[in-house]
């Protein structure tokens, strides 16, 4: 829920910024980032850091979902599309048709922990069990060794890259059952899970805290090490897409490659994700 307010605050900030930039006083370069709510915290940390280093540069970060990010890149309303999934073939095609050549920069890695209420006795599930729960085949926690409670499965909305990832990595072509609830952000998933004893949901690694319990999957718990070495089965890279590879040394180039620097690394760790490089 905090996310939602942040989003609104962001929009307001962006609107204010645009208003300011419309004035003739400001002549600095503007970079607009838009897209995934998962990549949002990284992008915001990068933007803040980069603007501090380079006072002439204005960076705005929008969080409207991966699909919207791709759309903005195609419409050239943003320079960087933050995406928690890879671009779809249809999006690539549409982008190429409008003269935009999307180039992917992997900024970080993320695991999708499966979250349950802290009071839930279940500690481990297999990917197949998670799939059957979301399909609606397993409907009670006692079927997987938990309490006698009807399962409330909570998914991200179909707009989000997190949903696409879960759909691909866990569901594997099966359809999510009709009883599954949908919410609009990672924060909302955590909110639903922490207040609902029978809930199961999934969110980015950064959204795990004491108020929810992350299950281990196939016996492996989601952690930095297991995601980076690929043993945790529900993991994914996070992307920033640009139109073509940015000119070397340009602000845009330095911004999207910030993840390779030591400062970038520690920022990624602070936001709860896993850096691609290890210093």
């Amino acid at each position: 829920m905090k996310k939602m307010f942040k989003k609104i605050a962001n929009c307001a900030a962006a609107a204010a910024l645009t208003a300011v930039m419309a004035g003739p006083v400001c002549a600095g370069e503007t970079i607009v980032m838009d897209g995934s709510t998962t990549v949002g915290p990284i992008a915001k940390a990068f933007a803040e850091f980069y603007m501090r280093q380079n006072p002439g540069v204005n960076i705005t970060v929008g969080e409207s979902g991966s699909g919207n990010g791709a759309k903005s890149l195609m419409n050239k309303t943003c320079q960087v599309a933050n995406m928690s999934r890879f671009m779809k073939d249809t999006e690539f095609k549409a982008a190429a048709d409008t003269g935009v050549m999307p180039v992917a920069h992997v900024v970080a890695l993320d695991g999708l922990p499966i979250l349950v209420h802290p009071s839930n006795a279940v500690k481990n599930l297999t990917v197949a069990q998670v799939r059957e729960i979301f399909m609606g085949k397993i409907t009670n926690w006692k079927q997987v060794g938990g309490p006698d409670l009807a399962i409330v499965s909570v998914s991200r909305d179909t707009n989000s890259g997190t949903y696409e990832c879960f759909n691909e990595l866990v569901m594997g072509g099966e359809k999510i059952g009709e009883r599954t609830e949908y919410v609009g952000s990672n924060g909302a998933i955590r909110q639903r899970v922490q207040s609902t004893p029978a809930a199961i949901g999934y969110a980015g690694l950064a959204f795990v805290d004491d108020t929810v319990k992350a299950l281990s999957i196939n016996g492996i718990s989601a952690s930095e090490a297991t995601v980076r070495n690929g043993t945790y089965p529900i993991a994914r890279p996070l992307f920033m897409f640009t139109d073509g590879y940015p000119k070397l040394g340009s602000h845009l180039h330095r911004l999207v490659t910030l993840c390779l620097t030591e400062e970038g690394n520690s920022m990624i760790k602070e936001t709860g994700f896993i850096a691609t490089t290890d210093y």
């Binding site: 829920m1 939602m4 409207s64 979902g65 699909g67 919207n68 759309k71 195609m74 779809k88 249809t90 999006e91 549409a94 048709d97 409008t98 409670l149 009807a150 409330v152 909305d157 179909t158 707009n159 989000s160 949903y163 696409e164 759909n167 359809k175 999510i176 009709e178 009883r179 599954t180 609830e181 949908y182 919410v183 609009g184 909302a188 909110q191 639903r192 207040s195 609902t196 004893p197 029978a198 809930a199």
Partner: protein, 392 residues
């Protein structure tokens, strides 16, 4: 057009002196046409919205010109599987229509009895000074942003329903049923006592009321016990949203029906009192029937408020595209038309996934058509009631 100019020229002779200069006449024409174009702008906005939504909705049913896709139409209105992101996508919108209808019905069940009682209280029971304070306070409800309602529904009400659902239900039931049953007992007691001779009437009324009172308390206790035994697995459900939407529709219902009750006028009320009717009889048998069309219009406006609300249902209805089983189970999550449009818009680009994009416009068109019809109906009702009251 000709009618407009004719009437305006008639006015012109009234407003403007014959000796007005050329510039003054020019100024008048300019001023009038400026105001006219501003007014027609809002009228055209409605037409444009209809046009563009229809234009983008048609390709869903007719992918190529002339080739009508009956399969899509059938699926849209008769199936419940809503998987817009599957390949190929499944667009069974019946569950969405059902979800919208369900939460609207629930909201009306909350808002109409509450709203009409409040309106009666404001117009016929409360002292004038008090009413001047209470009405604006109720109208503040309409000024609260819907996202705030949604936040409350998701963060406060949903966990409350999950943790103490039975108690909340039983408590709510008691609050509603206790006064109603109380009044019913007293009335029934009085009616019963009217059969007895004068000297035994008070005793008979007391005994009858007491017996009925005890019976209804037992009934309350039984039903309350059953309700408090219920547990709700998911707090984001049709019930939660119905209550919140009902509260949101309340100011509309109160305001409009209170206006209608006020419009009935003093003469009718005084006539009724003069015939020996009590205040309750006057309200129920004279004032409310006279104001019934205004009250109906209030209900319709409340329906429109509930059906068009997006943020609250997106946040707190659970958004599960299903027809609950059994179909009247309000404790199940549902998904509404508005929430679906808001939630599925991001991935649905007309460049990338045409069906998925156009189906949302088809949903929007259904919503628009529904509110258009409702609007026409309420306009007609209000006009009829004005005519009726004007004649009396």
């Amino acid at each position: 057009m000709t009618a407009v100019t004719a009437s305006s020229s008639k006015k012109q002779s009234l407003m403007m002196s014959r000796r007005a200069g050329r510039m003054q006449r020019l100024g008048q024409i300019l001023g009038q046409s400026f105001l006219f174009s501003i007014t027609s702008l809002s009228a055209f906005a409605v037409l444009f919205i209809f046009f563009f939504i229809t234009r983008d909705a048609i390709p869903f049913f007719m992918p190529e010109a002339g080739a009508f896709n009956w399969e899509n139409l059938r699926q849209f209105f008769s199936e419940t599987a809503w998987y817009p992101s599957a390949r190929p996508g499944q667009f069974g919108a019946l569950s969405l229509f059902y979800g919208s209808a369900m939460v609207t019905l629930g909201a009306i069940l909350v808002a109409v009895p509450l709203g009409i009682s409040a309106a009666v209280c404001l117009s016929d029971v409360l002292a004038f000074n008090l009413r001047q304070i209470v009405k604006p306070v109720i109208e503040i409800l309409a000024a609260i942003p819907s996202v705030a309602y949604g936040f409350f529904a998701l963060v406060v009400f949903a966990p409350l329903l999950q943790n103490a659902g039975g108690t909340v239900l039983a408590f709510g039931f008691w609050i509603v049923a206790l006064p109603i049953l109380g009044i019913a007992c007293i009335i029934a007691g009085q009616t019963f006592a009217a059969r007895f001779p004068e000297n035994r009437r008070t005793v008979a009324a007391l005994t009858a009321t007491a017996i009925l009172g005890v019976l209804s308390l037992v009934l309350l206790w039984l039903i309350g016990g059953k309700l408090s035994g219920m547990s709700i697995s998911s707090g984001t459900n049709a019930f939660n949203v119905s209550i919140i939407l009902g509260i949101m529709a309340l100011p509309t219902v109160v305001s409009v029906s209170e206006d209608a009750l006020q419009a009935v006028g003093r003469e009718l009320r005084e006539g009724s009192y003069a015939l020996g009717a009590t205040r309750a009889e006057t309200i129920i048998k004279t004032v409310m029937p006279a104001a019934i069309s205004g009250i109906l219009a209030a209900v319709i406006l409340g329906v429109m408020r509930a059906v068009g609300e997006t943020m609250v249902v997106w946040m707190a209805s659970g958004n599960a595209a299903q027809i609950p089983s059994p179909f009247y189970n309000f404790m199940e999550p549902v998904r509404t038309l508005t929430a679906t449009i808001a939630g599925d818009m991001g991935e649905a680009d007309h460049v990338t996934g045409s069906e998925r994009y156009h189906v949302l416009f088809a949903l929007a068109l259904c919503l628009l058509a529904f509110s258009f019809i409702m609007n026409l109906v309420s306009e007609a009702i209000v006009r009829r009631s004005r005519k009726k009251l004007g004649k009396e």
